[in-house]
């Protein structure tokens, strides 16, 4: 093997056979955007049916399929792969590595995703319909009472889990083994740190999810009784296992997002990230706590009171490290020289709305109060604040921020700003009223509702269409940039940006850092 100075291969095999982290990152990003549109289309069906009371568009059973697939596709298809794509693109460039540690496996982690989702989506056309038991698939609704397509759902989860585990192992190996000389742990950009910790979480909890669906498979096809009281099992056992995975999962979604804004806010504040070390410790504490709080999703299942109290206290604690992060971001902005390009706008949007979502999370963590909130739209509002305004906003910010580096072309700033404002307003119109209907007593996962919830639901649906439509603008802007954006060639596209990825040429060449750079004694930055 001589020096790798060839460019990418041509044609479809470039993408099918690639071992290049940038190609793979690109595929992840496009795939996740496609899934975002698919999941968004399901959400639009949900919101259209909920536009008015009464059943108009779909049947109740189909509505449940939409809710289920929306949750699954968004979480496993849109958000997680999008951050893996970002990791692929950025981690090697940020730590000065020539590529990911295990490039062929990297390609495999990606390529099992699309057929996996194809299999999941194909359940829509099977007898009895797609899974209709919510993205949390509680037994026995998902076992004895599920349509035959549940078998394919189970295998799809296995396959997606394999993809995540391999992807995470790759990231861990890359960060632990491929850092350039001088790139000590405490100099890693925060995005790398958050992803390293996220990868640990993934390797730890995806197998548990695999265990849970395997037990479902056994209950359905082999007569075991894990989740059936008649045989000595317990349906609630399923929930414990699921949430042991599920709660860390929500931090898997948000930690890389934290990483992204920790890169962007300092860049546009023209000031180093405040409290780098405490950011790292806070991330690690959040990850640790996430393993021991799972039953806050299960306050109403009838746990003994001691368990209830323990899970309440542990959950509340998460507000402390998360608060540290929020305060650090704000202090980073404090007395900086702020400018408000689109990535910064989305980051500020993230900061405000995620914090609101965090506050409602804290409210939910108060067990006696959760007896009233649980399984209402208040919860739906909470998690869209943290996941859409949290994860999706930060992902959007990331795309605007690094797009010039990836493509060598600048996006249209005005269009970006318009995209932000429509998104911001649309998002709030969609999800703010859901707090109200939730508190007033509207359960989630219902295709129809009582008349007193009508006004806010209509508002919410309108907001959803606005927010959804604004994504067309985003797609357009990205494509326009790639084909005809204004060229940029500065290595440092943003004057305040710091980090190795801004030292390579723009657009980033196909192979970077074939020889590792030397990282000097400069202090850690964001």
């Amino acid at each position: 093997m001589g020096a790798h100075h060839h460019g990418p291969a041509r044609g479809i095999t470039r993408w099918l056979f690639t071992t290049n982290h940038k190609d793979i990152g690109t595929m992840y990003l496009w795939f996740s955007f496609a899934m975002f549109i698919l999941g968004g289309a399901f959400a639009m069906i949900i919101r259209a049916e909920l536009f008015q009371p009464g059943m108009q568009l779909v049947e109740p059973g189909f509505f449940n399929q939409m809710t289920t697939l929306h949750g699954l596709v968004m979480v496993f298809g849109a958000i997680m792969p999008s951050f893996v794509g970002l990791a692929n693109w950025l981690i090697p460039m940020m730590i000065g590595a020539p590529d990911m540690a295990l490039p062929r496996m990297n390609n495999w982690s990606f390529w099992i995703l699309p057929p996996g989702f194809l299999m999941l989506a194909s359940t829509l056309f099977m007898e009895g319909g797609a899974p209709a038991f919510g993205w949390t698939f509680y037994a026995p609704l998902s076992t004895t009472y599920a349509a035959p397509s549940v078998t394919f759902f189970i295998f799809a989860i296995h396959v997606l889990g394999m993809s995540s585990i391999m992807g995470s192992i790759n990231i861990i190996a890359t960060v632990m083994n491929m850092r350039a000389p001088g790139m000590s742990y405490m100099k890693l950009p925060l995005f790398v740190w958050t992803w390293l910790i996220t990868a640990f979480l993934l390797v730890a909890v995806m197998p548990v999810l695999a265990g849970a669906v395997t037990m479902m498979l056994m209950d359905i096809h082999f007569g075991t009784s894990f989740f059936s009281a008649a045989g000595g099992g317990d349906p609630v056992l399923f929930q414990h296992i699921f949430w042991f995975f599920g709660h860390p999962e929500v931090y898997i979604i948000i930690l890389p997002a934290f990483g992204v804004v920790s890169q962007i806010i300092p860049a546009f504040s023209r000031k180093p990230l405040f409290g780098y070390a405490s950011m790292v410790y806070a991330t690690a504490s959040i990850a640790f706590l996430s393993f021991i709080v799972w039953a806050h999703h299960m306050y109403t299942v009838g746990m003994p009171v001691a368990g209830e109290l323990y899970f309440m206290y542990a959950t509340m604690l998460i507000a402390v490290p998360t608060g540290v992060k929020v305060f650090n971001w704000i202090s980073t902005m404090w007395r900086g020289a702020l400018s408000f390009e689109t990535p910064m706008l989305f980051s500020i949007g993230f900061l405000v709305l995620f914090t609101i979502g965090g506050f409602t999370g804290l409210m939910l963590s108060i067990a006696p109060a959760d007896f009233q909130y649980h399984d209402t739209y208040f919860v739906v509002a909470h998690f869209h604040y943290v996941m859409v305004a949290g994860a999706v906003f930060s992902m959007t910010a990331a795309v605007y921020f690094w797009l010039p580096k990836w493509t060598g072309r600048m996006y249209n700033e005005t269009m970006g700003k318009v995209h932000f404002w429509i998104s911001f307003v649309g998002f709030n119109i969609t999800f703010f009223p859901q707090h109200f209907v939730g508190l007033a007593g509207m359960p989630r996962r219902v295709p129809d509702y009582a008349l007193q919830f009508a006004d806010f639901n209509m508002m919410s649906s309108i907001g959803a269409f606005v927010y959804g439509a604004s994504q067309i603008l985003f797609l357009y802007n990205v494509i326009a940039t790639i084909v005809a954006g204004e060229k940029v060639s500065d290595e440092k596209v943003w004057d305040g940006a710091e980090g190795l990825e801004w030292t390579v040429p723009t657009p980033a060449p196909y192979h970077t850092f074939e020889v590792p750079p030397k990282v000097g004694a400069a202090p850690a930055h964001g």
């Binding site: 059943m55 009472y145 608060g323 914090t355 108060i366 707090h435 996962r445 219902v446 008349l451």
Partner: protein, 374 residues
């Protein structure tokens, strides 16, 4: 420019709050009609207000720097990036705020869990998609009945205008006495449901095979409405809970009447019934119990089609077997324990003679009883 937009938007949001509060749209949790409910409400408000205050402080600082520390004002960025003192402070202060929140939360939680010394026990069982109530320790014969959604399909499918309590009305509500500590023993027959009435502050999951406890002491007479809050299949959204809280006397009267009704039903079970009587009763039972799965005209859905079904046209014993004992491992439950012999006889007769299944067969309550006997 930018900050102005944000301020304007925030202003609109804030100023709209009181307006929304005044409109008839309920925007907040209801304190309900129990002491616990009021406590939970206070807790909810307390946490929310603390969060709002923290939020105002945090966002205040942020907007301050957004306005005054912008590059366009020509500021020079300072380069500080650490301060152990501040960092310790903002770790410790939130921690103590949380401790302060945990104190009232703990005491409320302990009260919620104080399930002892109830004066009345009611066993609540969730079914796809209805509730069954059984008064356990009332003196005399136990009283039990099912409570089904009463909203018509026409209202749901928008061919009739929707009534005031659309989706929140049932054929037979749960009746409880006020000022009495009522304990609810909550379980389920098939999948997990959750029994929730916001106003009386009870939400507890109904887990098949396990009994959960909850209690309530309602202080005001009235009708309180709620819904099933755990996804339980296709018609999860159509599984309301209605509770009538009445005075002690009214409750006793209702109980006596209910008991008399059950006794007369029992007596009727040994009498031969006419085809018409069975058919009209059967139609009612079918629409209440079977239609959700087998379709309004027996065309099937979650369940198999009844119209033209080989079982409904074939041997009566098989039909009774399926209806009474259910089909193992499917959504078709054992209805033998859910329906009285009369209802069972009626619905089987109905299925064998409706939807073009003109077998002319009549199944009498006594047949069902003897089938059940073995």
């Amino acid at each position: 420019m930018l900050c102005k937009k944000i301020m304007v938007f925030a202003g609109i949001l804030l100023s709209s709050l009181p307006w929304v509060a005044q409109a008839q749209n309920q925007v907040n949790m209801s304190p309900g009609v129990t002491e616990i409910g009021a406590e939970i409400y206070d807790l909810h408000m307390l946490i929310m207000i603390i969060c709002v205050i923290i939020g105002l402080l945090v966002f205040g600082v942020m907007f301050y720097s957004i306005i005054y520390h912008r590059k366009s004002r020509g500021v020079v960025p300072s380069q500080f990036h650490e301060s152990t003192k501040v960092e310790i402070a903002w770790t410790a202060v939130p921690f103590f705020i949380l401790v302060a929140m945990a104190v009232p939360a703990t005491s409320t939680l302990l009260e919620v869990y104080d399930n002892d010394e109830a004066e009345l026990d009611i066993l609540i069982t969730g079914y796809q998609w209805k509730w069954r109530y059984e008064y356990l320790d009332a003196a005399g014969e136990p009283v039990a009945f099912f409570s089904n959604l009463a909203t018509s399909q026409e209202e749901i499918y928008n061919t009739e205008s929707k009534g005031e309590n659309y989706l929140l009305e049932v054929d037979e509500p749960l009746v409880i006495p006020v000022d009495t500590k009522v304990r609810f023993l909550i379980t389920a027959n098939d999948v997990i449901h959750s029994w929730w009435v916001p106003e009386i502050s009870v939400k507890r999951d109904a887990i098949p095979g396990f009994i959960n406890e909850a209690w309530s002491k309602v202080t005001e007479e009235g009708i309180y409405r709620g819904q099933c809050t755990e996804l339980c299949g296709a018609y999860h959204g159509f599984m309301p809970v209605v509770v009538h809280a009445v005075s002690r006397e009214e409750f006793d009267g209702w109980m006596a009447a209910k008991r008399a009704e059950q006794a007369s039903d029992l007596a009727a079970a040994s009498v031969e019934m006419s085809l018409e009587a069975l058919m009209s009763e059967g139609e009612a039972v079918y629409n209440g119990q079977c239609m959700a799965c087998h379709g309004a005209s027996g065309e099937g859905g979650v369940g198999k089609a009844i119209a033209g079904s080989s079982i409904a046209l074939g041997d009566v014993n098989t039909h009774m077997d399926v209806s009474i004992r259910g089909v193992s491992g499917t959504a078709m439950q054992a209805f033998g324990t859910q329906l009285s012999d009369i209802e069972m006889a009626a619905v089987i007769t109905y299925q064998r003679n409706a939807f073009g299944n003109n077998t002319g067969d009549i199944v009498q309550p006594a047949d069902v009883a003897s089938y059940k006997q073995g």
